[in-house]
């Protein structure tokens, strides 16, 4: 039982981290230009810093 009390919050914490990561990608505008991102990897002199 003790192990459950430790593991359950731990797994929820992992889930929260993933949720936080998703929120961060959303805020950083990573879904704004899927077509452009697919093309940019083909360019040689591209900097991949978003504006």
């Amino acid at each position: 039982m003790n192990i459950v009390l430790f593991l359950a919050p731990f797994s929820v914490g992992l889930g929260l981290m993933a949720l936080g990561a998703f929120w961060w990608t959303l805020r950083a505008g990573q879904y704004d230009d899927p077509v452009g991102d697919a093309s940019r990897i083909l360019l040689d002199d591209d900097d991949d810093r978003p504006l």
Binding site: M1, V4, V12, D32, P34, V35, S39, L42, D45, L51
Partner: protein, 722 residues
């Protein structure tokens, strides 16, 4: 013939100031499709003096340019892009709110939270469900698990449910009940009862059901939002691009670009060939031909000289004119049409969608069932707690998620399929209206025809004689003639007389090409589009033109008739060409010479007779009719006003897109009704089961997701990779 160069357009109004004092500019770039375009455009713009950064968004076609310091030359950027072959227009980011899609972000974040919540709450619910299979947890462990589920599911449900709670509250404030009311009541009651069960060490908690319900519903909500955002984006881009400006003359005769809103009655304006007339007015000096096709549907350019009244929206073809503004821009004929469009859009918003009709039936029935269960259970001696549990079970199990997904899922697959075929659907309601259509009204110019004149009968010898003169002219009829004759010499000393024709020397002899009076011929006055040619010592020759039909016009009309629709043509053009087109495509009912207002009236009359008409039109003269029609389509070549008034916009050359759209809409309707059938069937089985207490949290979870999956899979049958 040369024209004085136009002053460079002034785009300074579009420059935005950034926090660090630097300027930036947003442009809409047309034609960028691939990695190469992207590299070319960014490299070119970054190489311009004063440009610090340039980044192109390929998905939306928007280019953001940042300038060094406060100065920024927007005109140079546009010019550079034009040279590369990508026409660009600056737009005002304040008008295009699409880039910052706040609503969409909130929905996707709520969806993410609900997804996380559903998964992690389930994790703690699995041990609770295990009791069904005879592996009952001890009461202490059960309570611990319930507390875990509550800690994760409660906050997630509250956050993810906010969009529904707000919408339900707004609808209740207006004394109505939309689909969000039973959802909100269900979710809130479920949470409350689950918390009380947890506190009282009871057995039935539904945290997992509440969160998964929201998760499934948010999928439908987000799909619906995406569909509308895409369409709004297309329309918003068009609006943001309209940067209306006119060239005004001041007292010293100098030219200034001024926003259209500042043009006052009595101002002198200069309009060059290729520009549209900005406001209604009277020509002061100069003479030209005007293309009224978008205003009236007439294909033949009309001559206009000093003293003639001209209307906003007409395209100036051949000469520089100055005109005295007779009306402000908002009082021009165009604005009157825009107001008609507005009124049409308002009457359309009264249309009740399928989903709302279903909600109207569903809401009272479900709430009544839940109330009866509570009252009945109490009366039959279950005790208030047990009775309330069963009532909540009814609310959960008759979950509206199948209903909430039924329509959006179908509409998104239908519009994705149409999008692949080059048809943009602006809203789900548009698809539903299109499915009900029983009558199709076509505009002629630019819809059934391509809107470009083509030579129909010509004497081969005369054609070759006249070609050198035709090549010297910018008039559309002369251009069509030159195109027919192919490449060759240009007449010497060619001089264009605006509104009359062109004269010059062919083999050293003077010749003229233009209106009958200009070459000294007698016109037959049969309303045909014509051009006359005369050389010294020869009788004048007549060239006849007509507007070419779209290649699949005949096929499309036949296909529409085969589907049991009646077809009619309403045109602003003269009777002769309209009759010829009607005969060719096989339409018996047609009317010609209609004003924009008469067109709109004709559609109102149809609606009054109970006919549900689809209007297909492209011109400004169709905009009001498009707004008044039950459903409306416009080609991608149409004026912005018409595209905005239409429900669907089809790109490309083919009219078969109209047939395709009607087919898809009808199929979508069938699928949506099937989905309602499935959802209803499920509820008929599930609701009694909940009333008799046969439902525990595990069954609720299975039944709910099962019904949602079923309607989604059924909707995906729409996709068809035909």
């Amino acid at each position: 013939m040369t024209y004085p160069a136009a002053p460079a357009p002034d785009y300074s109004a579009f420059l935005r100031k950034r926090e660090d004092g630097a300027r930036s500019l947003d442009l809409l770039v047309k034609g960028a499709r691939c990695a190469n375009c992207l590299a070319k455009i960014e490299r070119e713009v970054q190489g311009l003096p004063g440009v610090a950064s340039a980044r192109l968004n390929l998905t939306t076609g928007k280019l953001t340019v940042g300038f060094d310091g406060a100065a920024g030359d927007a005109a140079k950027v546009v010019e550079a892009l034009d040279k590369l072959g990508y026409p660009a227009t600056p737009y005002d980011p304040a008008q295009a709110q699409v880039a910052h899609d706040k609503e969409g972000r909130r929905l996707i974040l709520a969806l993410a939270v609900a997804g996380f919540g559903a998964m992690n709450t389930m994790m703690f619910s699995v041990p609770l469900w295990a009791g069904i299979f005879g592996q009952e947890l001890g009461p202490a462990t059960r309570t611990v698990m319930q507390w875990f589920a509550a800690a994760v599911g409660g906050p997630c449900a509250i956050y993810a449910g906010l969009p529904f709670f707000q919408s339900a509250w707004n609808s209740l404030k207006r004394r109505r009940a939309n689909m969000d009311v039973p959802i909100s009541v269900g979710v809130i009651l479920t949470l409350l009862i689950s918390f009380s069960e947890t506190l009282l060490h009871g057995r039935d908690t539904y945290f997992d059901a509440a969160v998964s319900l929201l998760f499934l519903l948010l999928i439908g909500r987000w799909l619906d939002h995406q569909l509308r955002a895409k369409a709004r984006g297309a329309a918003g881009d068009l609006l943001a691009m309209q940067a209306p400006a006119a060239t005004r003359l001041d007292a010293q005769g100098r030219e200034h670009r001024a926003p259209l809103s500042e043009v006052a009655v009595g101002d002198l304006l200069v309009v060059r060939p290729g520009e549209r007339i900005p406001v209604d007015g009277v020509i002061e000096t100069g003479a030209t031909d005007l293309d009224n096709a978008l205003l009236t549907g007439e294909t033949t350019p009309a001559a206009a000289t000093a003293g003639n009244a001209v209307r906003a929206g007409a395209l100036n073809l051949s000469g520089v004119i100055t005109l005295k503004a007779a009306a402000r821009s908002e009082d021009s004929a165009v604005a009157a049409i825009a107001r008609l469009v507005e009124a049409g859009a308002q009457s359309k918003s009264k249309y009740v969608q399928l989903a709302d009709k279903a909600a109207g039936l569903y809401v009272p029935v479900v709430h009544l069932a839940a109330a009866l269960t509570f009252a009945g259970g109490w009366a039959l001696g279950l005790g208030p707690r047990e009775a309330l549990l069963r009532a909540v079970a009814v609310l959960i199990i008759t979950c509206p998620c199948a209903l909430g997904l039924a329509v959006p899922a179908v509409q998104i697959t239908a519009s994705a399929r149409l999008f692949r075929k080059g048809v943009l659907v602006k809203s789900g309601a548009a698809l539903e209206r299109l499915a009900e259509v029983d009558h199709v009204v076509f505009d002629k110019t630019g819809v059934l025809t391509e809107g470009r004149p083509q030579l129909i009968e010509a004497d081969e010898v005369a054609l070759l004689r006249a070609a050198p003169l035709a090549r010297a002219s910018r008039h559309p009829l002369a251009k069509a003639l030159a195109a027919e004759a192919g490449i060759g010499v240009v007449a010497a000393e060619a001089k264009e007389h605006a509104g009359l024709g062109v004269e010059g020397l062919i083999d050293g002899r003077p010749a003229r090409l233009g209106r009958a009076a200009f070459v000294g011929a007698e016109t037959e006055g049969d309303g045909e589009t014509e051009l006359w040619f005369a050389e010294e010592g020869h009788a004048p020759v007549r060239f006849r033109f007509s507007d070419t039909l779209r290649p699949d016009a005949v096929q499309a009309v036949a296909a529409l008739k085969a589907r049991g629709l009646t077809v009619e043509i309403l045109s602003g053009d003269l009777a002769t060409p309209v009759a010829r087109v009607a005969e060719t495509v096989g339409v018996r009912v047609w009317r010609a010479g209609l004003s924009p207002f008469e067109k709109a009236e004709a559609l109102e009359a149809m609606a009054a007779k109970g006919r549900k008409a689809l209007m297909v039109g492209d011109g400004l003269n169709d905009a009001a009719a498009l707004a008044k029609a039950h459903a409306a389509m416009a080609p991608g070549t149409a004026l912005e006003a018409s595209q905005n008034a239409a429900d669907l916009v089809f790109s490309g050359e083919g009219l078969m897109a109209v047939v395709e759209a009607i087919d898809t809409a009808r199929q979508a309707r069938t699928r949506a009704l099937e989905n309602f059938g499935l959802a209803a069937l499920y509820n008929v089985v599930a609701a009694p089961a909940a009333m008799f207490g046969l439902v525990n949290p595990f069954v609720a979870a299975i039944a709910m997701s099962g019904s949602s999956l079923l309607v989604t899979l059924n909707a995906l049958r729409m996709g068809g990779r035909k």
